[in-house]
C-alpha cells in the first residue's frame, strides 16, 4: 500500500511539474492532434506504471524524460507513416548549408513553435531526444543521462542544433522545416 501511495504521489508530483514539458514532448513526436493525445495518455500511463520501479538512482526529471522519450520513440518506431524519410541533424545541417537560399514559407512555418516541431519531426529518434532536451533547457550532462550518449557526443550534437536554429531564427522564419 505504501508503495502504491508513493507511486501515486510521485506521479502527481511528476505530472504537476513536468506536465507541460510532456505535452511539448508529445508535440515533438506527433503532428496529428488526436494521435498526439493518445500518445500523451500513453506517456502518462507508462510513467505511472514505471514509477513503481523508480529507485531514485537518477533524478525524477531524468526518469520522467527517459520514460517519455521511450514511449514516444516506440510510437515513432511502430508507425511507418512517421518513420519514413527521417534524417539526422548532420543531414539537416548539410542541406541548410548547401541550399543557402531560403525556401518559401507557408503560414504554419511563420509560427516559430510549429516550425521547430516541423524540424524535430523530420529527425531520427536520437536527434529528437537531444533537440527536445536542449529546447527544454537541459544541460549536456542531463541530456547525456537521458540518452545514454557520452557528454562529448551530446555537446557536438547540441552545437549542431544551435547552429541550425540560429540560422533559422536569424533569417526570420524563411527556412522551411
Amino acid at each position: 500500500m505504501a508503495e502504491a501511495v508513493s507511486q501515486d504521489s510521485l506521479y502527481e508530483q511528476a505530472a504537476d511539474t513536468y506536465g507541460a514539458a510532456l505535452d511539448r514532448l508529445a508535440r515533438a513526436y506527433e503532428l496529428d492532434p488526436e494521435a498526439r493525445r493518445d500518445l500523451l495518455q500513453e506517456i502518462h500511463l507508462q510513467l505511472w506504471y514505471s514509477l513503481a520501479q523508480f529507485d531514485q538512482r537518477c533524478s525524477l526529471r531524468t526518469w520522467v524524460y527517459r520514460v517519455a522519450h521511450n514511449v514516444a520513440t516506440g510510437h515513432v518506431v511502430r508507425q511507418s507513416r512517421i518513420r519514413k524519410g527521417l534524417v539526422s541533424l548532420e543531414e539537416v545541417e548539410e542541406a541548410e548549408t548547401m541550399s543557402g537560399s531560403s525556401h518559401e514559407s507557408d503560414a504554419a512555418q511563420n509560427q516559430a513553435p510549429e516550425r521547430i516541431s516541423g524540424l524535430i519531426q523530420r529527425l531520427k529518434p536520437l536527434d529528437r531526444q537531444i533537440i527536445v532536451s536542449y529546447l527544454e533547457g537541459m544541460p549536456a550532462n542531463s541530456i547525456s543521462e537521458i540518452t545514454g550518449l557520452s557528454p562529448a557526443n551530446v555537446a557536438m550534437k547540441v552545437h549542431r542544433i544551435k547552429n541550425i536554429l540560429k540560422r533559422w531564427f536569424a533569417e526570420g522564419g524563411s527556412h522551411a522545416g
Binding site: 502518462h44 520501479q53 527517459r66 531564427f169
Partner: protein, 209 residues
C-alpha cells in the same frame, strides 16, 4: 508585444508555446491499467486454452477410433490413424509452449535508453520474422498427423474412383486455395518486417556516433 530578443531565442519560444493542461487522475490511470491487464490476461488465456482444446479433440477421437472411423479394416490403417491422432493430440499440447516461446513479447525496462528500446523493438520484429520462417517446422507434426489419419482412408477408397474423389477432392481443393494465399501473405509480411528491421538497424547505427 513580446520582446524581439525573446522571440529569437529558440528555447524561450519552445518553452513558452501554449500547452494543454493534460493530467490523468490516479483513478483514471488505474482503470486504464486494469482494462489493459484484463485484455492481456484474456489473450494469455485464449493462447493457453486453444492447445488443450485441440489436444482433447484429437485425444477423444483417438479413444473412439475403433468403432466410429470409416471402414478401417486393415490393422495397419487403424494403427496409422491412431498414431496420427496421438501426434495431433501431442501437437495440441505443445502449442501453448511454442506460442509462448515465439510470440510472447519480452519485457523492456520503462527507463531503457534509446539503443535498448530500438534493440528491443528490432528483436521483437526478428522474433516474428523467425517464427514465420520456422512456421513449417512447427506445422510439420500437424501435417504428418493429418496425413497418417487421412491417407489410409484415401487408400481404402482407391478401388472406387468415385469414392476416392469424393473423399479427397475437398481436402485437395482446400489445400490448393490455402497454400498460394498463405505463401503470398507470408512473403509480403516477411518483406515488410525485413524493411522495418533494416530501418531500425539504420537508427541503431546512428546511435553509434
Amino acid at each position: 508585444m513580446p520582446d524581439k530578443s525573446t522571440m529569437n531565442d529558440p528555447q524561450n519560444v519552445w518553452q513558452n508555446q501554449p500547452t494543454e493542461a493534460f493530467k490523468m487522475s490516479v483513478d483514471q490511470l488505474r482503470v486504464k491499467a486494469q482494462r489493459r491487464q484484463k485484455g492481456a490476461r484474456s489473450q494469455v488465456l485464449r493462447d493457453a486454452i486453444m492447445g488443450p482444446i485441440i489436444s482433447a479433440f484429437f485425444a477423444w477421437n483417438l479413444i473412439k477410433v475403433n468403432h466410429v472411423w470409416w471402414g478401417l479394416g486393415h490393422p495397419l490403417s487403424l494403427w496409422s490413424t491412431r498414431v496420427g491422432l496421438a501426434l495431433l493430440s501431442l501437437w495440441g499440447v505443445s502449442l501453448p509452449f511454442v506460442l509462448y516461446k515465439w510470440v510472447w513479447p519480452a519485457r523492456l525496462a520503462p527507463d531503457a535508453p534509446l539503443n535498448t528500446t530500438l534493440q528491443w523493438y528490432r528483436s521483437q520484429l526478428e522474433k516474428g520474422r523467425d517464427f514465420e520462417r520456422r512456421v513449417w517446422l512447427i506445422l510439420i507434426p500437424a501435417f504428418v498427423g493429418l496425413a497418417l489419419v487421412i491417407v489410409p482412408a484415401l487408400i481404402s477408397s482407391i478401388g472406387n474412383p468415385r469414392e476416392f474423389l469424393q473423399n479427397s477432392l475437398p481436402l485437395f481443393a482446400l489445400l490448393a486455395i490455402w497454400l498460394p494465399i498463405f505463401l503470398y501473405l507470408r512473403k509480403r509480411r516477411h518483406g515488410r518486417r525485413q524493411k522495418e528491421i533494416d530501418q531500425l538497424r539504420a537508427f541503431e547505427r546512428d546511435y553509434q556516433v
